[in-house]
């Protein structure tokens, strides 16, 4: 039983009513920025995206060949582990299904890697079947560096730290291992509906 905070009523009617909001989250209208270090500024023309196994590079796109891939518009609610949520965000990106087409592997997990040495781990099934994209536009405009541009992963069904900014590739693995925040006490999987914020939640 939670302790009742004397005199606290809560001002936010929206949070009480909106069924799209996972437990412990509140709504924002702006787009807060969080990251562990300086924002990398890789120009899009120098950006590449790589799929590798633990042994070898399997596929690699230049920014030009990446943009030639079929892309999709995505509308999604995003949930940050620091408790803000933003509903109905719109993105454009290439589905991870498209990127993995024709790649032979028997992987169960992936480590996503980014500029700035950021990594995050996911079960491969959370990246497939229309659940994840490499997004290069937000709200109709090229993705700004502070929000992860030139491109970030978008996995909206998990807490947003899994949607790695400045993404440069996926490493396919036959096991799970913690990425950056997962090594610093954050949950290994990060389902906002089960409020998996921290290790052991």
């Amino acid at each position: 039983m939670a302790y009742v905070s004397r005199g606290f009523r809560g001002k936010r009617a929206k949070e009480r009513e909106d069924a799209r909001l996972p437990p412990g989250q509140y709504l924002v209208d702006d787009f807060p920025v969080l990251s562990a270090g300086p924002t990398p500024h890789t120009p899009f023309e120098d950006w590449t995206f790589t799929i590798e196994s633990e042994m070898a590079e399997l596929k690699r796109w230049s920014s030009e060949s990446f943009r030639a891939l079929p892309s999709e518009e995505v509308r999604a609610d995003i949930q940050c582990v620091t408790k803000w949520s933003k509903l109905d965000t719109t993105w454009e990106g290439v589905s991870v299904d498209t990127l993995l087409e024709g790649v032979e592997h028997d992987a169960t997990h992936a480590m996503v890697f980014s500029d700035g040495d950021y990594t995050t781990n996911l079960p491969l099934e959370d990246l497939l079947d229309g659940k994840a994209w490499v997004a290069f536009a937000y709200d109709g405009l090229p993705l700004e560096p502070e929000h992860g541009g030139p491109a970030r992963l978008l996995v909206p069904h998990l807490y947003f730290w899994k949607s790695a900014k400045w993404v440069r590739g996926l490493r396919l693995m036959d096991h799970d291992e913690p990425g950056f925040w997962e090594s610093y006490g954050y949950h290994i999987y990060g389902d906002p509906w089960r409020e998996q914020r921290y290790a052991g939640d």
Partner: protein
């Protein structure tokens, strides 16, 4: 890179408010007695949960201001006009009330004396809070590591921990504290009176060649510009750790 040990689930703990300190007209420190507190490292934060009588709950994260070995846990909170949690903590909370806490959280934006230095701390507004935990920890552990704090506030009245920073800075082996006041300055002010920029950091930061560790905390535009300026001054990106809060922190 040091990795935190795997640990069990963080549980909600109940702390009792034993002291409230008005730091500035909008900022209050909340000193808590938390019997089940597992301890923390300087720079970490904690989740606070409020529950209304009808069961409605709201959670937010706040940086820890106290040093790891302090007897009591201190949070410092800036009241935001539309912040349902911060306005309660700054305006309604009284001594003797209890707060539900879960933490400590975050293992990257931390400094421990054994990590060495020198330390460059750059704060914008209430971004000084986790950096104050580091300065208090440094002081408690003997102050052997060189430390500089570059701290941007709107006015002298908005400087959080003003007296304690002066006391720390005037001590032998104390940190160097450089203030900049961006909106208004007391008469006779001879210090900086503009936003932190590359020129100011070139004048006040440690040279990159002696491999300082930088911690930058403040609102997003502040952190973006300071971190970028430090990289231009030759700081490797991995030596600049950042923590940000937006206008909506609540």
């Amino acid at each position: 890179m040091a990795r935190a040990a795997v640990r069990g689930r963080l549980n909600w703990a109940l702390g009792e408010v034993v002291e409230l300190i008005d730091e500035t007209p909008r900022v209050r420190s909340i000193v808590l007695d938390v019997p089940a507190w597992p301890g923390h490292r300087a720079g970490q934060h904690v989740d606070v949960r409020l529950t209304a009588e009808d069961g409605y709950q709201a959670q937010r994260s706040y940086s820890i201001a106290s040093a790891p070995k302090d007897q009591r846990l201190a949070l410092t909170v800036e009241g935001l006009s539309d912040g349902e949690v911060s306005s309660y903590l700054v305006g309604e909370l009284r001594t003797g009330d209890k707060l539900e806490l879960r933490g400590p959280v975050g293992g990257y934006f931390v400094w421990e004396a054994e990590m060495g230095g020198p330390l460059l701390l750059v704060a914008g507004g209430s971004g000084v809070v986790p950096l104050m935990s580091m300065l208090r920890h440094r002081d408690a552990s003997g102050g052997a590591v060189g430390a500089r704090l570059v701290y941007s506030s709107r006015s002298w009245e908005d400087v959080i921990y003003r007296d304690e920073l002066e006391r720390l800075a005037s001590a032998t082996d104390g940190p160097e504290v450089v203030h900049t006041l961006t909106r208004s300055q007391p008469s006779g002010w001879t210090g900086y009176a503009r936003r932190v920029d590359g020129q100011m950091l070139a004048e006040t930061s440690w040279p990159a060649s002696i491999m300082p560790s930088a911690f930058v905390c403040g609102p997003t535009p502040f952190v973006e510009s300071v971190a970028a300026a430090l990289v231009l001054l030759g700081y490797p990106a991995t030596s600049v750790k950042t923590e940000r809060f937006g206008p909506t922190g609540g």
